[in-house]
Amino acid sequence: MTVEKLKNELNLKAVCLADPEREIEGGYVGDLLSWVMGKAQSGNVWITIMSNMNIIAVASLTDVACIVLAEGVQLDENVVNTAKLKEINVLQSDKSAFDLAAEISDLI
């Protein structure tokens, strides 16, 4: 499953779709970035409500396939710009992290 297909299947909003063809393998849910840095795997979908700039750094470091922002969390313009610059896929949904994880788990 690619990031673009995931976006279309779940009707997610594309905040930054830098690499739509990226393949997804598994997922991780978490907001404490020290945990995400240690636990998220390359290719994961990472679901979070954290909107701080450092999510882009952590996504880059862990090489996750995409960030999915839950609960309608909005990013500041400079965070979106950094995501574009670093080519990090960022999707967004109004759903909770629980619902998103359940739906993504069914799909992949």
Binding site: D31, L32, L33, S34, W35, V36, M37, M50, N52, M53, N54, A57, V58
Partner: protein, 247 residues
Amino acid sequence: MNRYYYDFHIHSCLSPCADNDMTPNNIAAVATLAGVNVMALTDHNTSKNCPAFFQAAKKHGIIPVAGMELTTAEDIHVVCLFEELEDAMAFDEYVDSRRIKIKNKVDVFGQQLIMDGEDNVIGQEDYFLSNATQITIDNARQEVERFGGVAYPAHVDREANGIIATLGVFPQEYGFNCAEFYNENKIEEYCEKYENLKDKRILVSSDAHFIWGIQDKRGYFDVEDEPYSSEKVRKEIFRILRTVVDG
């Protein structure tokens, strides 16, 4: 020049999670026993017990500092200290307008008592104090400085509400000049692991929520205090806190 031991992170009975025995006079009295000379009261998202703490501290010979432990929008705890009580109270009013107000559940979280200088209960805060405010970590320092204060991340060595656990690093770009540790034995390990801590002024404080949590004197400042006045000592300590450390 004289040595002043400090503890800049203490909770009173106004913090929901703190013991009701943490009255202004009990805190000041125990601080004296612990050998602490300068103490800041830093309740969660409020400074409303600072006026009482100032009165109590003076009775017990402690130099008081008005403060607050701010919870940012990201759930990161930031210690905010003010040279003047009035500035802390003005900041308190501002934070009140940026809080997310949820009714406190006394049976779950505990009471939030406001006291006078004689430890009489003169009021209580109805809304839960410790939850996240709408002030973000990237704005916290500027907001505190706008009111004449100093701000720095609290207990960076802790998982719960520490900036490193939450953001994964100690960010340089927010311009914090100091960092607080809860456990002084972790300072070396953290400074080696997190490059950005190297040029920070490292402070240790007890984050006491109970009387027995107030730790014996640890951190200190050597202060030019002649001719002595508590004002002068406080002013000098704030000057040190604002001074950038050479990396």
